[in-house]
């Protein structure tokens, strides 16, 4: 198997924590991974992306070739569109609906959703709402991670273990909230995937 994922967001939104959780899960499942990150200047509120490649065979390039990503996972709706040239014909676009507006010319949300709907396989979820219901807005990224689960060839338990590993240091309560957000994100995404496929 091979899954190529483009993670998208805005510097500071923490897409690397999603990448880390998937990476740990893949590793636990004895899969190969390569994950390219953006550090430095763009982390100050600029557009950021991470290429995450998971495969049962060895992986050559740290970058995903154009037109071949299986999944764009974005924590911000406009950013989900920025990497469309990477998405394969059968790939899925999964995005959070909550805009992060730090530029004066940010487009209207209807316009964005209109573009997202043009992609044959897309899932839009309200990760912020899901996270709040799970106990903390800060778990929004883990809700997005949950939303990616139906598109990964990695057992769900491995993903849960990844979260336990990452948040373990912060105590049981934090782990619980993040696991709940993960589960709610997964459910929401699963439903929409079935509806949209």
């Amino acid at each position: 198997m091979k899954t190529d994922i483009v993670l998208a967001g805005v510097g500071g939104q923490g897409i690397l924590s999603i990448a880390a959780a998937i990476g740990l899960a893949a590793l636990e499942n004895s899969l190969q991974i390569k994950q390219s990150e953006v550090h430095g200047m763009s982390q100050r509120g600029g557009a950021v992306q991470s290429h995450l490649r998971i495969s049962s065979d060895s992986i050559a390039s740290d970058l995903i070739p154009l037109g071949s990503a299986d999944l764009i996972l974005s924590v911000e709706p406009m950013e989900s569109l920025r990497y469309l040239p990477y998405l394969s014909k059968n790939g899925w676009l999964v995005t959070n609906i909550k805009p992060f507006i730090n530029i004066p010319n940010y487009p209207g949300i209807e316009e964005i959703l209109n573009e997202v709907e043009k992609i044959p396989n897309s899932v839009v979820i309200d990760a912020d709402k899901i996270a709040k219901e799970a106990g903390s807005l800060r778990a929004s990224n883990m809700a997005m991670l949950g939303a990616s689960v139906p598109f990964l060839d990695i057992p769900y338990e491995n993903i849960q273990n990844g979260i336990r590993q990452i948040f373990g240091r912060k105590g049981d309560k934090v782990v619980e909230i993040n696991l709940a957000a993960l589960e709610a994100g997964r459910k929401a995404s699963e439903e929409k995937k079935t509806r949209n496929s």
């Binding site: 763009s42 970058l63 070739p65 406009m78 043009k118």
Partner: protein
Amino acid sequence: MEKLLLLGAEAIAKGAIDGGMSGVYAYPGTPSTEITEYVQNSKYAKENNLHSRWSANEKTAMEAALGMSYAGKRAMVCMKHVGLNVAADPFVNSAITGVNGGLIITVADDPSMHSSQNEQDSRFFGKFALIPVMEPSNQQEAYDMAYSGFELSEKFKLPVMLRITTRLSHSRAAVKTSEIKKQNETSYPEDPIQFVLLPSNARKRYKLLLNLQGTIEEASENSEFNNYFDGKDKSLGIIACGIAYNYLIENFHGDKSPYPILKIGQYPIPSGKITQIYNECKRILVLEDGYPLVEEQLRGFFNKDNKVDGRLNGLIPRDGELNPDIIAKALGIKTITGNPVPKIVANRPPELCTGCGHRDIYEALNEVMKEFGPQRVFSDIGCYTLGALPPYNAINSCVDMGASITMAKGAADAGIIPAVAVIGDSTFAHSGITSLLDAVNEKSPITVIISDNSTTAMTGGQHSSAHGKIEDICRGLGVEPEHIKIITPLKKNHEDFVKLLRDELNYKGVSVIIPRRECIQTAAKSKKTEKLEKESTD
């Protein structure tokens, strides 16, 4: 031996620790910062007293590493590509002095300038200094080269360069580690005047270096990192350096390449292997992430055979980072692109954080500069360089570390009076101090704003080496005490700040204004750590 998931930068740090390193020296700079940070966070490094504290700049780092090598121990110095310009003097001369303990100079280049002022290729510097250069294609090789690099250095008694690019530095993959080697014991160089580069001695040392060239080329020829992979189709031979090899292999989708490939990971260029592929194949495609170093040498000035393709004839773009698609195009492989980016997607450049003190500085500066005229604010390298972008458009230069002060001085010498410099605390410590001395010595009519957020913020909040010493340094350099002013950059102090700036801009000598407020990122981080520590002790 274990298997770890590491960034390329971290793999180098781990390889160096396991390879018996006694210390790392560096100034933070993207994409090299994570090497030193990994050593700083390593339990083993702490227990075994490995040096890992940040240096004031790349030159001091390079010199300290050379000193550790003089004392027989293995040392690494790390920097971004432009940092090597700062360290160039000791770097080039370290090839003439040679080393005692193994010395690795790790340089992280930034093709496409993700976080830099240029995309210079450090392999040229390695060739210039006449030393071996290693260039890993993946994280495992990054580990292995750092691990074995000290021995290579000790074998030739020469420093060795380890060159990576941003993509490898910031990409994670599994790395298998090797057995930890013991640190060297302290020892003196065999020859007590080896490091004395008086002309009479330097000439001898330089001859020695020249005489070694055949041997280090032979090492390249036999290096495990330089591999010739034969292919049936000799219409094309491909030379792939460092990470370019991965982008190339990606295009064969798990199948073997039909063309012969020469993978290069160690320089000088292995002449035997190069000659073989050049003679066997009808055309040669050179893939290198950076400048056309190998390509230029293969073509030669007259390009007689006209059979080399690459950046110089436009088959590969002349600038910017490589990727699998660029190489596919060069190979004539058809690629598919997903949907285009919709027109509504707006550009989202980086910006100063909400609540950042630099913002308050530019608010005040822009207001007061209306009175003094346009295009006279010289700035420097750090988060505050973002003041060049909207909404502030407040600065007119960003060239190299420390240049703000000296450029302001030069502009004032030429009649732009008053001129202003905006520099951060860490950049001031790095290279601004001598600049300020020049200005003080001539009583230049400049106002220097040292924006003190008490950290090296852009690279993630590393220790700033002049922390707590800035006023003392300014006084020591001879700035008049009544023209060293401190203010807290906050909205509520805006009017005071504007007035202070106006007064000092009107002073016909050197003024230093220090707006001081901790970086909100590091402040938030230390608050978080405090909270965690409190929770764990409760």
